[in-house]
């Protein structure tokens, strides 16, 4: 099979979806807590959040590795736990940790993929690898972390699947390798009109590569919006000023030097008050995560609530 890109996705609104998905582990750990999410066809979506937010769990549910305790997931309308082969047919996956076979060469991996996956596009994979100067005859054990991630991506792209799920593929890569990886990904996905969702901690890189962002925190969805829209609607300001008309305070969070910063969301198209500036994606994510850590019912202490009294018998702080 030859071709320059991935096969076009079937016509449905959501490439990946999750409906009221919850995942509970033994010991009462809630990895996911009622997630509702749609990843639109043709988008490149970043799934971000702190460790334990449930990103990998959700991705593994889409791949059919981790059945939800409650709710359902679909890949182009197919439930991977009811029709695993149907879902996998439409999906390429790059796992969080390098999953290459020790002792096999890069070419062996491509041959393995050809033998396992009918229609696997070996030419596409090998062309991608050649562009990156990764020798096909090289033993996987001698590849750098970046090269291993590129091989994994080339294998996922070779499936010509309309949906790609990438679970923290950038985690072990240096900045240059991250750029290269994302460049290959975006190029491949855009040229085929495919859909990709990738989880990452490195927010600065994904801002360039992705068009949507989903923020997860504590197993819940905190933000799900296009990156342009989200960045355009949020402002930050040093300190914690009094409420401003037309702006909603989202949360306060510490800046790089510990200085207090607050994130605000503009309700409409209003001029920025003095001191306000557009939020970076990183600040947006940090602010949103900070907002998720506080229960919604708790009043905003910085504006409404007096300081709590010291505990009885204790030293006032």
């Amino acid at each position: 099979m030859t071709g320059g890109g991935l096969s076009a996705a079937p016509t449905t609104d959501a490439a990946l979806s999750a409906r009221a998905v919850a995942k509970h582990y033994r010991g009462g750990i809630r990895a996911l807590d009622g997630i509702d999410l749609d990843i639109p066809v043709g988008s490149i979506t970043a799934l971000v959040g702190p460790n334990g937010a449930g990103k990998s769990t959700l991705m593994k549910a889409w791949v059919g590795f981790e059945p939800p305790s409650r709710g359902s997931v679909t890949v182009l309308g197919i439930d991977p736990f009811k029709d695993r082969s149907g879902a996998l047919d439409r999906l390429g996956y790059v796992s969080q940790r390098p999953a290459l076979y020790r002792g096999l060469t890069v070419h062996d991996h491509v041959a393995l993929a050809v033998s396992l996956r009918p229609g696997f596009d070996a030419e596409l994979s090998e062309r991608r690898l050649a562009q990156l100067d990764i020798p096909l005859g090289q033993d996987s054990r001698t590849l750098s972390g970046g090269q291993q991630a590129q091989v994994m991506l080339a294998l996922a792209l070779g499936t010509r699947a309309p949906v790609l799920v990438l679970d923290e593929p950038l985690a072990s890569l240096d900045p240059l390798a991250r750029r290269e990886f994302l460049h290959v990904l975006v190029d491949a996905v855009r040229s085929a009109g495919a859909t990709a969702v990738l989880s990452s901690h490195v927010i600065t890189d994904i801002e360039q590569a992705c068009d949507r962002i989903v923020v997860l925190g504590g197993g819940r969805k905190i933000l799900d919006e296009s990156i342009a829209q989200a960045v355009g609607a949020h402002r930050v300001v040093e300190g914690d000023p009094a409420p401003v008309a037309g702006f909603r305070r989202v949360a306060g969070f510490p800046g790089p030097l510990g200085e207090p910063i607050t994130l605000w969301r503009a309700d409409g198209d209003r001029p920025d008050p003095p001191g306000f500036r557009p939020a970076t994606l990183e600040e947006l994510v940090l602010g949103r995560l900070a907002s998720s850590r506080r229960p919604r019912t708790e009043p905003d202490r910085s504006t409404d609530e007096p300081p709590p009294p010291p505990p009885a018998g204790g030293r006032p702080s």
């Binding site: 076979y101 020790r102 002792g103 062996d108």
Partner: protein, 323 residues
């Protein structure tokens, strides 16, 4: 399919090469001992059996003098043959286990299962395309000691075909290969459940020991059920016990009780004439001619255990998480 087999063998090349070397050395050692036994040129009428000297009609001192040095050399070598038979149980089982263990558990441990399980539409197909060829390779490699032990048995027990003899019955022939396959199946199954290699070797090893101990017990029970009382036994028969048949009633009496039944003669000893008139000595045995049936049954049990473990392993692979 050919690519899958080639890559499976490549990922397991250390285990397969090690196993092949160990098994070929075992086969060569077995054949060497057989050759040494043949070199003694032991006459059949010099052999001992469970019931005395085989085929020696009457005691003859000259014959005994001629036999003695041959016996000494032959039985010393025969002891070496016993040690080789013991290795013939150990090495194939260990080899089978060590080949079976990494097949799934290493993939789970290293994370490559997640790559394979997303590239392949069917985990079962992925699993069987790896495990079936490997099982056939294990059987092919273990054919070497299976054949060599039959050759050794022919040399160790001259004058009787190993196919009509229960002597060393579970230590030779196809049982060896099937035992290795059973160990491989257990290694694959336990590896699929545990997902880590070292614990799989420990747990799988214990399971193989249990099955290896259980099957001969099962076979002995079957042989006991199938055995019949007969006036005497031949070399190669599976003898379970002795007794005395009451010629009038057909009832079998235990040797310990028979002397209580016999009247005493004038000297106070059991009356031999009365005894000969009323009882006949019997053995409870299975004829050696039924050895092929028994060994085939043992092979079926081991093969079923192997197949069962492999099928269960497939079910586990189909359902489990890749990490």
């Amino acid at each position: 399919m050919r690519t899958t087999i080639r890559l499976t063998l490549k990922t397991l090349r250390f285990e397969i090469v090690s196993m092949t070397i160990a098994v070929v050395l075992l086969g060569l050692a077995t054949l060497y001992v057989a050759w040494q036994l043949d070199s003694v040129h032991m006459p059949v009428d010099c052999l001992y059996s469970d019931f005395g000297i085989v085929s020696a009609p009457i005691f003859n001192q000259a014959h005994e003098d001629a036999c003695q040095p041959l016996r000494q050399a032959f039985y010393e070598l025969s002891n070496s043959g016993g040690q080789v038979f013991a290795l013939g149980v150990l090495i194939p089982a260990v080899s089978g286990l060590l080949i079976g263990v990494p097949l799934v558990s290493r993939e789970l441990e290293s994370g490559s299962a997640s790559l394979a399980w997303t590239l392949s539409r069917s985990r079962r197909r992925w699993y069987y395309r790896r495990v079936v060829p490997l099982g056939l390779i294990v059987l092919a490699i273990l054919a070497v000691p299976s054949i060599a032990t039959v050759v050794l048995e022919t040399s160790k027990e001259p004058g009787i075909s190993p196919w009509v003899s229960f002597i060393d019955g579970s230590l030779r022939g196809p049982v060896i290969a099937l035992r290795g396959l059973m160990a491989m199946g257990i290694g694959v199954l336990v590896g699929a459940v545990i997902g880590r290699q070292l614990p799989t070797v420990i747990v799988g090893g214990l399971a193989v020991i249990l099955v290896t101990a259980f099957v001969p017990g099962l076979m002995e029970r079957y042989i006991r059920d199938q055995a019949a009382w007969m006036p005497g036994s031949g070399r190669g028969d599976y003898v379970i016990g002795q007794g005395f048949r009451n010629l009038a009633t057909g009832e079998i009496v235990d040797p310990g009780e028979i002397y209580n039944l016999a009247p005493l003669d004038a000297d106070g000893n059991p009356d031999q004439a009365w005894f000969d008139a009323h009882y006949q000595q019997q053995v409870l045995a299975m004829p050696g001619a039924r050895y092929p049936e028994i060994v085939a049954l043992e092979c079926v049990i081991l093969g079923t255990a192997a197949a069962g473990a492999i099928v269960l392993g497939g079910l586990v692979v189909d359902r489990r998480r890749p990490t």
